[in-house]
Symmetry: C2
DNA sequence: ACAACCCACAACCACTGGGTTGTAGGTTCT
DNA sequence: AGAACCTACAACCCAGTGGTTGTGGGTTGT
């Protein structure tokens, strides 16, 4: 993990950009699952599922602990909230524009119809 | 666009999984930009930027309109909110688990220390 | 001790993704 | 008309991704 926000975002979105991984994430968010248990749900080899789990783990979206011969994957929603927050920050660029446009319109409006009492520039 | 939610999610996250595309999205959310204007900001060919814009458009994250010889890209935050909503839905799996665990703990607690007055099963 | 099971890892393969260059067509400006 | 500009598209290259099989090692149950 490099710590660079852009790298983290790359890892997050890349991990989420596969439907199998999203499904694994759903299951794991609902409770701990072993890799082989997860693998039984998909029409692919165990190794493939292993790799998907590794990608999710590398992105910090899930964690694993060993219990005897099996490796249990679990996840909390905290990291997902971080991803959602990033999207909200992106969206704020748009909201900024909207408020900027509103400000312009208001200014224009006041230019067309100047205040009756005091002039705007003291 | 297939309309299948999983396909849409694939497209969304894949589009967001590239820092150049995220940056383009930021700029475009802040206001309309032509493709060549965008291209000037990056150390890559115009064609590469064109492709990035096409991916974002394919994912429904931005739209384009032609104005004379240039193609202006713009975006609103609505689609991004949809992505964030999807993440929140994923996270809800986790919250469900937490509330389930809380319920179990509460049940256990009441079994250890049953109510003094009325029995729980009427 | 042995079989059955779960996992890790290496090697390989087909396909996609991000990047390039080159060519060509429509627009704007002078 | 001609130059400069913006975009579109095809063809290609290389790296990475998602998938496979095979091997091997630790764990559990009989």
């Amino acid at each position: 993990m490099t710590g660079d926000p852009e790298d983290r975002a790359d890892a997050w979105f890349h991990a989420l950009a596969d439907r199998t991984r999203r499904d694994i994430l759903r299951r794991v968010l609902a409770g701990e699952h072993s890799v082989s248990t997860l693998a039984r749900s998909y029409d692919m080899s165990l190794t493939a599922v292993q790799k998907h789990v590794a990608v999710l783990e590398g992105a910090g979206l899930i964690t694993r602990r060993r219990s005897g011969r099996e490796s249990l994957a679990s996840a909390d929603g905290v990291e997902l909230r971080a991803v959602a927050r990033l999207l909200t920050e992106l969206e704020s660029h748009w909201r900024d524009r909207i408020t900027r446009i509103d400000a312009l319109l208001a200014e224009e409006g006041s230019a067309d119809r100047p205040p009756a009492a005091a002039p705007p520039t003291p």
